[in-house]
């Protein structure tokens, strides 16, 4: 009945040690493997037929692809399409991890800040490396917008630097906090049902939290898809900064 218990990472199977690092399989990594396998399955099996008139799975796979491709194209332009594999992989992984986490008894990979922060750092590292590769030191124009007088620059530049450093944090915390809060809320309301059923006359009230859970589940479904989409859009926006800094 502890609403936090669902987030504990525990070892399963034999413990593997690799040069002193503990690499044994945990429930978290197991679900990462499941998510990756499901994404691969949907995309490979879905596009296997290459039918002119797509079936249900193929239509779904194509829709997801087109959706992300359109997002990347409209945010970063044609140049940004080279980042489509990165954005699409991130989006699919986050989407499937969020959705699988909604099935009772599963582990939500994206409710761990370590996972979401790693994703955010992948994005920001790509932005920084690509930005310096493409623009050299002109990438730093990102921090000093053109048309700002000298005195104001003293204030604007530190603010811009901090807001750049805050990006990976806001990117990871948003996804992690949403998933965490949603799952805790679901568990708390589920706990209410159990408590109420065992509380004598008050058991009449026990359907109320159940209705609440059904409503929350719908909301969580929306949030799961929305957060995956927001993550992909923000990845595009940040990559756009690497392509066209400071203008």
């Amino acid at each position: 009945m502890d609403p936090i218990k669902q987030f504990t990472v525990s070892k399963i199977g034999p413990s593997i040690s690799f040069f002193g690092h503990d690499l044994s399989l945990t429930n978290s990594s197991l679900f990462m493997i499941i998510v990756t396998a499901l994404v691969l399955l949907v995309m490979l099996y879905g596009t296997r037929g290459k039918a002119l008139v797509p079936g249900r799975l193929q239509a779904g796979a194509e829709m997801l692809y087109e959706f992300i491709a359109d997002t990347v194209r409209s945010t970063t332009g044609k140049e940004g399409m080279r980042f489509l594999p990165l954005v699409f992989s991130l989006f699919m992984f986050v989407l499937f991890a969020n959705l699988i986490g909604l099935i009772p008894g599963t582990f939500t990979v994206t409710s761990q800040i370590a996972v979401t922060f790693a994703f955010a750092m992948i994005v920001m590292t790509t932005v920084v490396i690509f930005g310096f590769m493409k623009h050299g030191l002109h990438f730093l124009d990102l921090f000093s917008p053109s048309g700002v007088p000298g005195v104001l620059k003293l204030i604007i530049v530190p603010i811009e630097v901090i807001s750049f450093i805050a990006r990976p944090i806001s990117l990871s915390v948003r996804l992690f906090a949403n998933m965490l809060a949603g799952h805790i809320a679901l568990k708390v309301f589920a706990g209410f049902i159990v408590t109420l059923t065992g509380a004598g006359v008050w058991a009449i009230l026990s359907p109320l939290p159940l209705i609440m859970i059904v409503a929350l589940m719908a909301l969580e479904l929306l949030v799961a898809c929305l957060q995956a989409f927001v993550f992909a859009v923000l990845t595009c926006i940040y990559l756009n900064d690497a392509l066209h800094p400071g203008h």
């Binding site: 959706f67 359109d70 997002t71 409209s74 945010t75 917008p145 053109s146 048309g147 530190p158 603010i159 811009e160 901090i162 807001s163 450093i165 805050a166 990006r167 944090i169 806001s170 990117l171 915390v173 948003r174 906090a177 949403n178 929306l222 949030v223 929305l226 957060q227 989409f229 927001v230 859009v233 923000l234 595009c236 926006i237 400071g246 203008h247």
Partner: protein, 133 residues
């Protein structure tokens, strides 16, 4: 007046025909309106998703700005031994940068802020005050 309807039989039929066409027109208009309303509610659903995404972004930008500012200030204090000054100043700069990114988010036309939207919004994006965007 009461028996005026009964004696004019041809006129009665004429009226009936007219009534029929009118009611058909009304029902056609109604279904058109219903379809329009359905489309509008679907648009509303999409915009609910968009504004929810926007809300989450605003909240997390603000939070992250303050967090990063505070963290940097805390480390400055630890390195230079300037006990509360670094934390206070950096916390304020962090909060300002959080608000600054929220301002940039809101000042942009919706198409840039949420990505996937079409060109129609770009055209109407009423000249953002943010010249960098």
């Amino acid at each position: 007046m009461g028996n005026g309807i009964q004696d004019g039989d041809p006129r009665d039929a004429e009226l009936k025909a007219r009534l029929d066409t009118l009611s058909k027109a009304i029902s056609a208009g109604k279904s058109e309106k219903e379809a329009e309303e359905q489309a509008a509610s679907r648009r509303d659903d999409a915009s609910v998703g968009r504004s929810m995404g926007m809300g989450f972004r605003v909240a997390s930008e603000l939070f992250a700005g303050i967090l990063v500012g505070g963290f940097i200030g805390w480390w400055i204090d630890r390195w230079f031994g300037t006990e509360p000054a670094g934390l206070i100043i950096m916390l304020m700069i962090g909060a300002v940068s959080g608000f600054w990114s929220v301002y940039k988010l809101a000042a942009k036309p919706a198409s840039v802020a949420t990505g996937a939207q079409g060109q129609d919004e770009k055209a109407t994006g009423n000249g953002s005050p943010d010249k960098r965007g």
